[in-house]
Structure formats: C-alpha cells, structure tokens
C-alpha cells in the first residue's frame, strides 16, 4: 500500500491506512452486495421494484436503514449474558475483517501477502462460528439457541468440503500463497494457448461447484439457511438483536459474502490479473476493478441460487455434506493429483 502512495511512511502510518481501508471495505462490500442483489436483483426476480425512494433507484436505502439502526434503542434481554451478548456481533465482523487481509487486488495491493494465504483465509472464516454460538447462547432464547446449534453443526460440516475444494487449486498452483495462485492462473496456458491464461475454473470446475455450495452453507444462505430460517426460527441466533448490533450482523453477513466471492474469484477466475498485461503500475489501478467484476459474477451466482431454492432440512444438509460433497471433494483431489503427476 505504501508503495502505491509513493510515500515511504512509517510502519504505524501504513498499518493505520491498511486498517482503515479494510474496515471501510467491509461495510462498502456489504452495501454493494446488499443493494445490487438483496434489494434489486431479488426484487426483480419477484416481479417488484424494491426500494425506489431513497436516492436514484433507492441506492441510498441501505444507508438510510443503517442510520435507522443506529437510532434504535440497544435492547438486551433481561436473562441474557450481557458481555457475551454485546461482543458476539463484533466477533462475527472480526472474522470477515480477517479474511480481507490476504485477498490481493493488485500486484502489491494486498494487506499482508501470507505464504499460507488460502489456509489462513479459510481458517479465520470459521471464526464466525464462535460469534454465532456466543450470540445464540447468550440471548437466552430457545429459538436463538436452536439457530446457533444448527449454525455450529452446519459450519463445521461445511468447512471440510470448502477446504477439499480448495486443495485441488492449491495442488495445481503449487502454492498456498494467493498471489502465487493468481500468478499461476495468469501465466498458465490451455494446451499451449495462453490468451486468457488458465483460470482454474476450467480444470477445477468440480472444485468451483463445491466451493460455491460450501460457501453458500458458510454464509448461511438458502438453501442452507437453517440457522436463520425465517419461517422456522424467526431469525435464529440474531432474533434478540436490535439496533446497531443487528446492523453488525447484517454487515457481517454481506461482508462475508463479499469476501467469499472475492476469494472464489481469486482462486478460480484468475483474481485481479489480466493475462498478458504485465505493467505493474497499470494493474495496481485495473486490478481491483477486474477483481470486482469477477467477484460480482460469483456473487450473482450465489444470490441467484439463494433467491430461487427452498431450504434443506438440517439432517439432509449434513447428509449432503458428508455423503456427497466430501466424497466428491476427495475424488477431485485424487484426479487432480493423478493429472499433476502425469503431466
């Protein structure tokens, strides 16, 4: 980051800028996804317009909602475990925040280029389970408790397919570093033709499908939204939350969707890179835009499924994870390994 600004700032200033940028990214991503998909795409799929009054075509609706949430009274249930109840939303947003750290948006445009980037991203994404459990347990509400337990069972079950889906990519790229994976895709070639590089979606399409399904479950979106199931558990673990704490959950939900879409775009669609363009300075500017475009495509797929399907039952979800997705993931790794060795 400091290189972009061409200022040789001290580490403190750099750290400050990075923190502010990432902290700003989460609500910004949540707003973009929330507006484009939750408000507009869903509305049009349901033959309606959605909010139209706040700003042109209602672009400011979520901002207005956010302001409204901030004005609300902060209610804590009488029987709740107050401290845990108060911290839980922050834990969830924290896990989102931590994912953003390793996602590269340009040659140098990354907060921290970790060598175990993929591993780290998937590891911190599961931190949100703790937040969910904290929220559900501390609410002293049976619906919240049921929701939290479902969420815990589900998130643990789907960590595994998520990981297995990524193993194929890692094996093919030969690195866990996200910049390395982007580079491997940009410099790769399909049977000697390197016009579009070699985005791993072509070879790892099974992995991509697995990743989408599993991230859908990680994000507790339909068809895997049992933890928040509107018609069963009302809102699951966040049923007792109001005001800005609820806003935190909302930002966490869509911010995580943003992060996962970015992760999928990086792992399978080639990330920020445009094959053939090697001008580093240009890519620092173009890279984020390219990544954003790819991310929106992935997010469109995720939300399209979300607004079309009914939800599964908890036991069916577990059966799907353990009996279908994990064997497919293992088979995918096996096939990838064979090809890797053979070629």
């Amino acid at each position: 980051m400091s290189h972009v600004l061409a200022v040789d700032a001290g580490w403190g200033v750099t750290l400050g800028i990075k923190t502010v940028v990432v902290l700003g990214l989460i609500p910004a991503g949540a707003l973009i996804l929330g507006y484009t998909f939750l408000l507009k795409m869903m509305s049009h799929m349901q033959s309606r317009l959605g909010p139209m009054e706040a700003g042109p075509h209602g672009v400011l609706q979520l901002v207005a909602d956010g302001v409204k949430f901030l004005q609300k009274e902060d209610i804590m249930p009488a029987e709740s475990d107050r401290h845990v109840f108060a911290i839980a939303p922050a834990v969830i947003v924290m896990s989102t925040f931590l994912i953003f750290i390793v996602i590269p948006a340009g040659p140098k445009l990354v907060v921290k280029n970790l060598d175990v980037g993929v591993f780290y991203a998937l590891a911190v994404s599961s931190l949100s389970v703790i937040g969910v459990l904290m929220a559900g347990w501390s609410s002293a509400n049976k619906f919240a408790l049921l929701g939290a337990l479902r969420a815990a069972a589900q998130l643990i079950a789907y960590e595994l397919p998520l990981l297995l889906a990524v193993v194929g990519v890692v094996a093919q790229a030969g690195t866990m570093n996200l910049q390395g994976i982007v580079g491997a895709q940009a410099n790769g070639s399909i049977f000697g033709w390197s016009g579009i590089g070699n985005p791993f979606i072509l070879t790892q399409f099974v992995g991509f499908g697995l990743f989408l399904v599993a991230s859908q479950a990680e994000l507790t979106q339909t068809p895997f939204d049992m933890p928040v199931a509107e018609s069963e558990l009302v809102a699951g673990y966040m049923v007792e939350y109001t005001g800005f704490r609820f806003l935190f959950f909302f930002i966490g939900e869509f911010g995580t969707a943003f992060a996962f879409a970015a992760l999928a775009a990086t792992l399978f669609l080639g990330g920020w890179a445009i094959p053939g363009v090697t001008n580093t300075g240009l890519m620092e500017v173009l890279g984020p835009l390219v990544l954003f475009a790819k991310l929106m495509i992935v997010a469109f797929l995720m939300f399209w499924v979300r607004f079309t399907y009914p939800r599964l039952r908890e036991d069916q979800l577990q059966a799907l994870a353990w009996k279908v997705l994990i064997p497919i993931g293992l088979a995918n790794i096996l096939v990838t390994g064979i090809f890797k060795v053979a070629f």
Partner: protein, 397 residues
C-alpha cells in the same frame, strides 16, 4: 414416524426457576448433566402459524416429542354474533371467517336460508355464484402455492403467489365491489349482475392462472429440494384423516375420493358441469401441494366452462321486502377451498337466526396436528403446518 393412535398426553406444567438456568453452564466438567426436554412455544406470534395459532412443542433436540395446538387467540364469537344480527347483516360477518375465500363462506349460509324460505335463486345467479366461488378458490390456492414455498424457505414464489392472486382479486372486485369481503350474496340471488367486459377479462385471467400453475409446478413441485423437504413428511392415512374430520384437499391428498361439489347434495351449478376430482394416494405434504395445484388448474377450467354456459335471465328471485325466515332447522355444507364448510341454522321465524353452528374446515384440519407432529423435526412442523393450509379465522371463528 411412530403411527400409533394413542392420544397425546397434556404437557406437564413447567416449574423451573428461570434464574437457576444461568448456573447450569457453570456445572463442573466431567459431571453427567441431566438432559431434559425443551418446551418451545411456536406462536402465537410466529411467521409460520399464519396468524395466531400457538403450538406448544416438546422437543428432544430438534425432534418433536409432543405438540399441543392452542387455539382461540382470534376468537371473535361469530356464532354468538349471528344471534343478534339479521340475515343480510350476517353475510357481511361470515365473510370474515375464512378471509381468503370470503365469497365461498357466504354461499352455504345463504343457501341454507333460501332453503328454509323455499326460495330458489334463478339459474343466472347460481352460475355467477359458482363462478365467484371458484374464483375465490383460485385466489386462495394460488396464494397457497406461493406461500408454501415461503414456509420451506423459497422466498420468491411467495411474491409470485401474491402477484397472480392480484388478477383474480381484481376480477372479484370488479364484479362485487369488495376485494376481500364481497358481501355479494343476497337471499334469493345476488346483488348485481356482472359489469360489461368482465367475462372476457375473466377468460384472460384464467389463462394467466393456468400459466402460473405451470410455473409453480416447475419451481416448487418439481424442485428436488422441495421434494426432499415434503415427500413422506406428515403422512395422513386416509381413514384416520376422515376420522379426525380432515376434509377438502387435505383428505383428497390422502387418497379419499370425496368432494362435496360432486358427492354432496347438489348445490349451485356444479351438477351441470364436468370436472375431475383430483386425488393423490400418498397423503404427505407434497401430495397436498400437488392436489391443490391440480385443483387450481381444474377450477380455472371450470370457470371457463361456466362462462360458456352462463344463462341469461334475472339474478334475483321474488323475495319479500323484510326477510323473515320461517321456523325450522337446516344443515348445509359445501366444499370450500379449505375443506368442508357447513352451517346449522336454527330459525324461530325472526329476522335473524336463533342459533347458528358453524363448521369450519380449518378447525377440524388442525385437530390432527398432535397426532401428525409427533416424531418429526422442527423444520417439518413448519412444512406440515404450511401444507395443511389453515386460516386462523377459520379455526377460531
């Protein structure tokens, strides 16, 4: 599912100091903790209970051990109210029993009063009544077809249900003046004839309805996730359902071929038209959805048929100015969208009835819930509630 016929025991009173729960978490590690059943209140304010049904569910994990429906949160005392109202006033009240198909509620009552007075409505009035009854059936079912999706988690079809129902409601409004509460039936006929252009408009809307049935069939009935959620969930055996008084599409979905439009005492114009009574052998939630889907289509075809056969003539029989129903008692039942609806009218010769007993379909339909909900999971409770399709006004009256 454990299918025994033993009655469900009432839930024991819960006597736990709620403060004490907070310290359960502090229990020492390694000590075997007691596991207890959890009692969960679904409702009266719960999105899946269509209003104010309360289900006290005893859970072991997510499995339902016993479910106890508590009704009466919306009791409006219609049976008592009818005793102090005149016959025309009662029609506006009973509109509100099952508010989704209010026109169909009026028909049996007016029919009973007419029979007591030995008046018969002219054929054109009978046909228009039949058309509007079928339209309200379509309005109810189209909403169900979407809303069932909402209950199993698919948000989008619910909005389509509202969208497509709107066309039908517009028709009902254009003919009767009321979208939800038409109050269009009068003793001896109907209030007014159809407005110009209504028949063509209805034909168009019926095409929309049939198309929308196809859409619902593709997006929900044919969806693998939906099937996984509803197939073999909440099976009502035909004989047991009939014993509990379950009626209408819920019973036909259990393979009982019984429809009052065809099998009951002839009423309205039903004897004069052809229609198929759809049944499904399975009796599960999916077949209830499927049967309603087919019946919506069938109703649309029936409306088209009725429009073709619509006779001309008067819409009102000769009726005395002040309506006094002669002394007598009568039981009238009809096939309403939610099931069998009946009125037992006792008249003592006054301008209003002496006593009216209302047999509403939903009340009997939910009576099977304690039996049906034992042993299922919490998400299935919602599926079963949605597929039984009850209206709270129809339960509590």
């Amino acid at each position: 599912m454990s299918a025994t016929d033993t009655p469900v025991p009432r839930l024991p009173e819960l006597e736990v100091d709620r403060r004490a729960w907070r310290h359960l978490a502090d229990a020492a590690v390694g000590v075997e903790l007691d596991t207890g059943d959890m009692i969960l209140n679904l409702g009266p304010q719960h999105p899946a209970t269509h209003g104010t049904l309360r289900l006290v569910v005893r859970l072991d994990g997510e499995r339902v051990l016993a479910a106890d429906p508590v009704i009466g949160y919306m009791h409006r005392g219609y049976e008592k109210l009818t005793e102090v109202r005149s016959y025309p006033q009662i029609t506006t009240l009973i509109n509100r029993i099952d508010w989704l198909s209010s026109f169909a509620n009026e028909v049996p009552f007016i029919h009973g009063a007419e029979k007591l007075m030995s008046i018969e409505a002219p054929p054109r009035a009978q046909y228009i009544r039949t058309i509007l009854t079928e339209l309200s059936r379509i309005a109810t079912f189209v909403l169900f077809l979407g809303e069932m999706g909402l209950q199993v988690g698919a948000l989008t079809p619910a909005f389509w249900g509202f969208r497509d129902r709107e066309h039908v409601l517009n028709l009902i409004e254009a003919a009767t003046g009321g979208r939800f509460h038409p109050n269009f039936n009068r003793i001896g006929g109907i209030l007014d004839d159809l407005p110009w252009g209504w028949i063509n408009e209805t034909r168009n809307v019926m095409k929309i309805v049939i198309d929308s049935c196809d859409v619902f069939e593709d997006i929900l009935a044919g969806n693998e996730i939906f099937e996984a959620r509803t197939r073999s969930i909440g099976i009502i055996p035909g004989a047991l359902g009939a014993a509990y008084g379950v009626s209408g599409s819920n019973l036909r979905a259990s393979g009982v071929d019984w429809d009052l439009r065809r099998d009951g005492k002839p009423y309205l114009a039903y004897p004069e038209i052809d229609f198929k009574v759809w049944t499904h052998p399975d009796g599960d939630s999916w077949s209830r959805y499927w049967v309603r889907l087919q019946e919506t289509r069938e109703s649309a075809l029936m409306v088209l048929q009725l429009l073709d056969q619509l006779p001309s003539g008067p819409i009102m029989a000769k009726v005395p100015r002040i309506i006094k129903v002669p002394e007598g008692e009568i039981w009238v039942e009809t096939e309403n969208p939610l099931g069998q609806m009946g009125y037992y009218i006792v008249s003592k010769g006054a301008t209003g009835p002496f006593r009216v007993k209302i047999r509403s379909a939903s009340f009997s339909n939910v009576s099977i819930l304690p039996w049906l909900l034992r042993g299922v999971y919490v998400p299935d409770v919602i599926t079963i509630l949605a597929s039984l399709y009850f209206i709270l006004g129809d339960i509590d009256r």
